[in-house]
């Protein structure tokens, strides 16, 4: 569940299914547009929202995430082809993370594939990839459909997420599988979710019923609404890069040198070249090891700006791509694209000084490390 970067020139975004409820909870009234849908940056206070997600339960309006269904006899082949997630190996109810890659093995987007039934899959993407997916379906007995505007999606994050979902009547007894259930006559699908280091539940339901479920959850567990700014802190701590912010998707990059491989983003474990064929696998095999890698830094400062220079022993070695103050670390956490193998670094501050920084161990980083240590065999990406 990664939100794409805010729309650069977005005006008049469409309201998501949960906009009515979100607007009522957004005391800060700070809004932006993601994929043309309205999204709250802050509801009340970033620190409070962050705290709720780590100690209790937080609710996220996941309407701006782009959703596709793939149906048909060869729906598994279609998704196994389009994304690196092992769609064909998933049992009904299982979900897996993966990447969309271009022919040369560069990252187009981060995606999640969920098998709803034997011939029905749900694909969640940060951005729209209609043309790419339609092309992927060519020659296969499968139909891909964009359902983003037809469904509502919300995510519950935090240690009490499952309890909150259960209190609202959702069936979350199975910790590994998605479950279809009816809540007071409303068809819902709840599936386990992982966001950075946090676990949770994602619920998909009909567009018209969204406010009813939000209200049921609010009355049952009082989850704290979580805005994009708090989500940004959590994702940076978790080591999950954001498309359009930390890297440019290969389909949007205008120059070859702007494209990034999974290894350059620290996501090589999501695209193991030993997995059954997927788009870009051949290209991936011929890619050289990246000279720069996206790394999460913990910076001894209260404020740094994205774009700030990062210095190593021999001078500038890269730049910050995104940064947020981490209430947990009590200092700044930031993604930086820096030369590989760098340990001690400094980051330029707004006042002209420099602050010491060090690589931060993240949940995503641990998975990548396990993948490297196993020589490319530890490829578990299921939730």
């Amino acid at each position: 569940m990664i939100f794409a970067a805010d729309d650069a020139a977005g005006h008049g975004p469409r309201p998501t299914a949960l906009f009515g409820a979100a607007a009522g909870a957004a005391a800060a009234n700070s809004w932006t547009s993601v994929n043309g849908w309205s999204a709250a940056r802050v509801y009340t206070n970033v620190a409070e929202e962050y705290e709720a997600a780590h100690t209790g339960v937080a609710i996220v309006d996941a309407g701006p995430i782009v959703r596709y269904t793939a149906r048909g006899r060869q729906a598994a082949e279609l998704l196994a082809r389009a994304a690196t997630a092992p769609a064909a190996a998933l049992e009904p109810g299982e979900s897996a993370r993966g990447l969309l890659l271009d022919q040369a093995g560069n990252v187009v987007d981060l995606v999640e594939t969920a098998r709803i039934a034997s011939d029905l899959f749900l694909l969640s993407c940060s951005k729209s990839h209609a043309r790419r997916l339609q092309l992927a379906a060519r020659g296969l007995d499968a139909v891909i459909e964009d359902i983003t505007g037809h469904v509502a999606a919300l995510a519950l994050l935090g240690p009490k997420a499952r309890d909150a979902a259960a209190a609202a009547g959702l069936d979350v007894t199975n910790e590994a599988l998605a479950v279809q259930t009816r809540v007071r006559g409303v068809e819902t699908s709840a599936r386990p979710l992982s966001f950075g280091a946090l676990q949770g539940v994602e619920v998909i339901l009909p567009f018209e019923e969204a406010l009813t479920l939000w209200e049921r959850l609010r009355r049952a567990a009082r989850p704290k609404p979580l805005g994009l700014d708090a989500l940004d802190v959590i994702r940076i701590e978790g080591g999950v890069p954001r498309i359009g912010v930390d890297f440019i998707g290969a389909d949007d990059a205008r120059r070859e040198e702007d494209k990034r491989t999974p290894a350059a983003l620290g996501l090589a474990h999501l695209a193991p070249p030993t997995r059954a064929w997927f788009n870009g696998r051949r290209g991936l095999r011929s890619q050289l090891a990246p000279s720069r890698r996206l790394t999460v830094l913990a910076i001894d400062a209260a404020r740094v700006a994205p774009g700030a220079a990062v210095f190593g022993l021999k001078g500038e070695i890269g730049r910050l791509t995104s940064a947020a103050f981490s209430p947990h670390l009590k200092r700044m956490a930031a993604f930086a694209e820096i030369a590989t193998g760098t340990e001690k670094v400094e980051v330029a501050l707004l006042d002209g000084g420099r602050a010491a920084a060090e690589p931060l161990e993240t949940a995503e980083g641990r998975r990548a490390e396990a993948f490297r240590a196993s020589d490319g065999r530890a490829t578990e990406s299921r939730f």
Binding site: A82, D102, Q103, L135, R138, G139, N279
Partner: protein
């Protein structure tokens, strides 16, 4: 282990080993590629499309009248393929090495042009004295640009051009036919003549950009050592195919034209051979496929093994325009003296701009509106055996007609009427001597069929980009493509087959070193 890494074995199927390369598709490019591989010392098997093949034999379309499908003239058979395979030694012979052309115009006028384009100035001066020098300059500039761009039209990268040439070449590559010819000459016949040559078998209409490049491509070709010339091979199209086949046999290629394949075996992202329709397999590290791209990639390899970006190069859109292949059986000699005197030449009906607009408009709407561009020859003059004594066969290509997947009888009747009407403009009084008409359309094509090339391709630049992608970027090691989409322009060429064979030989050498 993933599915695509498992050897695809079918119980009961015969597995053949000890073979270095398999070529699929007995087209001109396919046979050329197989012969070149055989000549390089690779044990090569050439497979056809399956079923009986009749393309190497003349077809009797009316009692005692014979014709050959596909191309009837050669305007650019790859000189390197001819030289490497020594095709002259294997029976390639031209009945006319340099066919003069006679152009017939809408106002009833006609112009005889020398088969050597460099010597046409005299013909032009005879018709329009004041345009002679301008025409010579124009021709020289187009021929220079064509020659310089020849590697590009063979599917290679754009060659570096001299400054003086690059400006003209840039204009020729991007402009419409009308844009180039407007104001170039005073004489309308000259414009009509060049427009007919440029629009013939082209999908670009007179005012559409990237239209003129088609003429550039045609004149880049070399026939019997002469740039832009048109030749009639002995036995027509069959003569070229037979020579290639003999070259392949001499190179010890195992020819199996009646054997079709069901798919190409891919293991670990590399070609591993082919599976045949009967379930048997031929294991080989190199496979060259000369089938149309849709079959070569989507059917033989499967979408699940292809990169999505690569797949965009495989054409899906139906062509809008095509040409019609027409044969007339004449019960005697043409009725008029002018045609009678030019029967050993290439006859071209060059419509006026207005007629072009009507014909292309009608074709776009799915119909046919005569007169059309017609290129006709009398094969019976060069090879009397194809028609009864004192009778003749006219072999013609008519352009443009609408492309139809399944042409019905009514559509054929309209094409026949258009063909008769256009031929009547070239040879008045001949229509009453036509005893039979044979029509083959692009929609009649089977896999690897010669008439497939009748569909008018996209403009040459699009074709070049598509050909480059399809030939170079499938990503499957040891799998090479030389189907119709690998060729730029229409007609016999063989360069795509040569390029595929050379790439395959480089691959084999690299593999041996590793």
């Amino acid at each position: 282990m993933a599915d695509d890494h498992k050897p695809h074995l079918k119980p009961g199927g015969r597995i053949e080993g000890g073979i270095d390369a398999v070529v699929v598709g007995a087209t001109v490019d396919g046979i050329a590629a197989a012969a070149l591989l055989g000549k390089a010392g690779l044990r090569t098997v050439l497979l056809g499309a399956g079923g009986a093949t009749t393309e190497d034999e003349p077809r009797e379309f009316w009692g005692g009248y014979f014709c050959a499908d596909g191309e009837h003239l050669v305007d650019g058979l790859d000189p390197e393929t001819i030289a490497t395979l020594d095709l002259y030694r294997h029976g390639l012979e031209f009945a006319r090495r340099r066919l003069d052309s006679v152009y017939f115009f809408a106002d009833g006028g006609a112009l005889l042009m020398d088969g050597d384009l460099y010597r046409t100035r005299e013909s032009v001066v005879a018709m329009a004295e004041h345009d002679g020098a301008r025409f010579a300059d124009f021709l020289e500039s187009v021929l220079d640009a064509s020659r310089a761009l020849r590697p590009f039209f063979e599917g290679g990268p754009l060659p570096p051009l001299q400054q003086s040439l690059s400006t003209a070449a840039e204009r020729f590559l991007s402009a419409s036919v009308a844009e180039i010819l407007d104001g170039a000459f005073d004489d309308p016949h000259l414009k009509d003549l060049l427009m007919a040559e440029a629009l013939f078998r082209n999908s670009q209409r007179p005012h559409e950009p990237f239209g003129f490049v088609s003429l550039l491509r045609r004149w880049a070709g070399e026939t019997a050592g002469l740039q832009g010339a048109v030749a009639y091979p002995k036995n027509g199209a069959l003569g070229v195919r037979r020579a290639l086949r003999r070259a392949a046999q001499a190179a010890r290629v195992d020819l199996r034209p009646a054997t079709g394949i069901s798919r190409v075996l891919v293991e670990w992202d590399k070609a591993a051979g082919v599976e045949m329709s009967d379930g048997g397999q031929i294991r080989a590290p190199v496979v060259i496929n000369a089938s149309p791209a849709q079959r070569a990639f989507m059917d033989c390899i499967g979408a699940e093994h292809l990169d999505i970006e690569f797949q965009t190069a495989i054409p899906t859109a139906r062509p809008q325009f095509s040409s019609a292949r027409v044969h007339f059986a004449l019960s005697g000699e043409p009725g008029d003296e002018r045609t009678l005197a030019n029967m050993a030449r290439r006859l071209v009906y060059a419509p006026s701009l207005h007629e072009h607009a009507r014909a292309f408009g009608a074709a776009r709407r799915g119909g046919v509106e005569p007169p059309l561009i017609m290129e006709a020859i009398f094969p019976s003059v060069f090879d009397p055996g194809v028609a009864p004594k004192r009778c003749h066969v006219v072999s013609a290509i008519l352009h443009p007609v609408a492309y139809r997947d399944k042409p019905d009888d009514e559509f054929r009747d309209r094409i026949e009427a258009a063909a008769r009407a256009t031929f009547e403009r070239m040879a008045p009084g001949s229509e009453e001597r036509i005893v039979a008409v044979d029509i083959r359309l692009a929609g009649d094509a089977r896999d690897g069929d010669a008439v497939r090339n009748l569909a008018a391709p996209a403009n040459a630049l699009d074709q070049w980009a598509r050909a480059r992608t399809l030939s170079l970027s499938s990503g499957i090691g040891g799998y090479f493509f030389c189907g119709p989409e690998a060729q730029i322009g229409t007609g016999f060429n063989g360069a795509a087959g040569r390029r595929a064979a050379l790439a395959a030989i480089r691959y084999v050498k690299k593999r041996a070193r590793a």
